[in-house]
Symmetry: C2
Subunit: 347 residues, 2 copies
């Protein structure tokens, strides 16, 4: 699917979404056929049935969902469409699954630009092609003006698990090394800058990307991964704390081993937020047995998405579920979940 295709609906005639586009009649039919069937085109979708039917390979499957309400819709390094594909693909990857199929549910606000919808649908297709997934089933609803915010997208995903590891918080063990796939905070800060909420000049782009290839690279090399988690809402801090609680283990993280771009650091100082709380959309942590840590690090660094990977901490031999951060000057503090609203509408 080449980018830059012009919108198949004549936008001079139909510039924006109307309530009729959601009513199940001719306009709904036109919107689905011209925009979504054209952009997502694949044999499973083409059956035009109430769902997609497929035959999986033998083995386990992963199933996940996310809704996307990000503002602005288009931001440096991505848009709500690429985010809606990559975010769900990454959740499948965090289960150690090879992403297969996505669903796409759209909630459109009356008055939303048809041309923007087409751009977003094309962006979804491009991200899906890159991640080697098909968007095979979908749904479109329209809400009255003032009852939505342009566009919300939900994607659900199915992935195939092709290994024998049980990748889950419950598999984390004392002694595990914790690897971080790259520098943190780009997505959140790029969005804040795009919203002009920051008096801060930056060329930072979101890290929004499909990390499933990177995860499959580790699995295919035989790394016995215990757990994976992408660093979305709540950032690195929330990911580590949630796994510590779900696994019932204590964790120690070294602040000086966490790569942070100077613009992220600068922006966080200005707005008074901790970079560890900022959302990412192409970064994850991996819990693996210590003896595989160096091999795993080398494998991560072979991929451009993992070139700044680091070993940032370990699971401790302790009974608590505390997460301790060793600061750059050697002090320690307990990491806690952020309270309050932080950065709204970041994903």
């Amino acid at each position: 699917m080449p980018s830059g295709l012009s919108c198949p609906i004549p936008i001079s005639e139909y510039p924006s979404v109307t309530m009729a586009h959601g009513a199940g009649g001719k306009m709904t039919h036109q919107l689905i056929e011209k925009i979504f069937m054209t952009a997502f085109d694949n044999p499973l979708l083409k059956t035009r049935h109430d769902g997609a039917v497929f035959q999986p390979e033998p083995g386990k499957l992963a199933f996940t969902t996310d809704s996307y309400v990000v503002r602005p819709l288009f931001f440096p390094g991505g848009d709500i469409g690429s985010l809606a594909v990559n975010g769900t693909v990454n959740d499948l990857a965090m289960c150690g699954a090879r992403p297969l199929y996505l669903s796409a549910g759209f909630i459109l606000e009356e008055g939303f630009s048809i041309e923007s919808l087409w751009r977003i649908a094309l962006s979804m297709r491009q991200a899906a092609d890159q991640a080697n997934v098909l968007i095979v089933t979908g749904d479109t609803k329209v809400v009255d003006k003032g009852k939505g915010d342009g566009i919300f997208i939900n994607t659900a995903g199915i992935g195939q698990i092709e290994h024998a590891e049980n990748i889950a918080p419950q598999s984390v063990r004392a002694g595990d090394a914790i690897l971080l796939s790259g520098d943190i905070g780009r997505h959140g800060i790029a969005l804040l800058a795009a919203r002009a909420e920051l008096n801060f000049e930056t060329t930072l782009e979101s890290d929004c990307a499909d990390v499933s290839g990177l995860v499959l690279h580790l699995l295919r090399a035989g790394i016995p991964i215990h757990c994976l988690r992408d660093l979305t809402r709540g950032g690195l801090a929330a990911a580590v704390i949630e796994i510590s609680e779900s696994a019932g283990v204590a964790i120690e993280i070294s602040e000086s081993d966490i790569p942070i771009h100077q613009d992220v650091r600068g922006a966080c100082e200005i707005i008074g937020l901790d970079p560890l709380h900022i959302a990412n959309e192409g970064r994850f942590i991996a819990f693996i047995p210590q003896k595989y840590a160096d091999t795993c690090l080398a494998l991560l660094k072979e991929d451009p998405l993992g070139q700044d990977a680091r070993i940032i901490g370990h699971v401790q031999h302790a009974d608590s579920c505390l997460v301790t951060l060793i600061s750059k000057i050697g002090g320690t503090r307990l990491l806690t979940l952020p309270s309050g609203e932080l950065l709204p509408r970041i994903c």
Copy 2:
């Protein structure tokens, strides 16, 4: 899961959804643990991982999604929660699949009542129990006040196909009988009445229900179903027209064989809508070889949900994709997709 459980979040302290509930920190954690983990409780969900991992039986799977934006949230015969479960379960059933798992994505508006959220979550659990599906993975987002409408829910579903039929529009054949599972128009008219948009007294309830058991009953009895379609947005007319176009066949429907409750008929006369265009949430049509029509009808009538089932038409031996309605007085007219907005926010 008994109904009527009191809300696990103290609503005097936390009466409504705040932006912090969507920020990925403590409040998000509390909302998910207290409301969704409590209401949906099951082992797959309890792994608290980025997705649910399961081992399907050998065979094909169906995958589908729908978003739900219905107004009002609570209506006679259901609410947005039961609708979000039954609607997606029914889409799986229309693929001939036994529903297995659902995902649930919530988009909450700042200020939405926590108590209503709990009621809706409990209603989802009850509908899921009735349909014998588990809600195994989910997501919650919060949007600013005025940028949403209380609550939108997306569900995606996975179902197992346990037969050799290829249930799809492309399997429809000339001569097929078309069966309707019950009377039409209750859902749409019950919603209109609940919105007080009708000067019309009625005790009608929505037909919102899980029809998967009814479909599986037909399949297990060996009925070689060619195609199924539930009669949601756009009603019976849209369903028949869409299948005629996807299958490339002409269809003839007999108006006098379509059961319609007198209150639906009366309301439609007042508002000037055709009952064939009104949405249903517990009715479907089945395309089956003519020689199985009577057996299939008898099987449908064995179930309370199918007690008013009828044979309403046939697929014709013709080259066009026209849908012809034979009126009660013997005239014919072509059925067309409704244009315009009809009934907004009906599902």
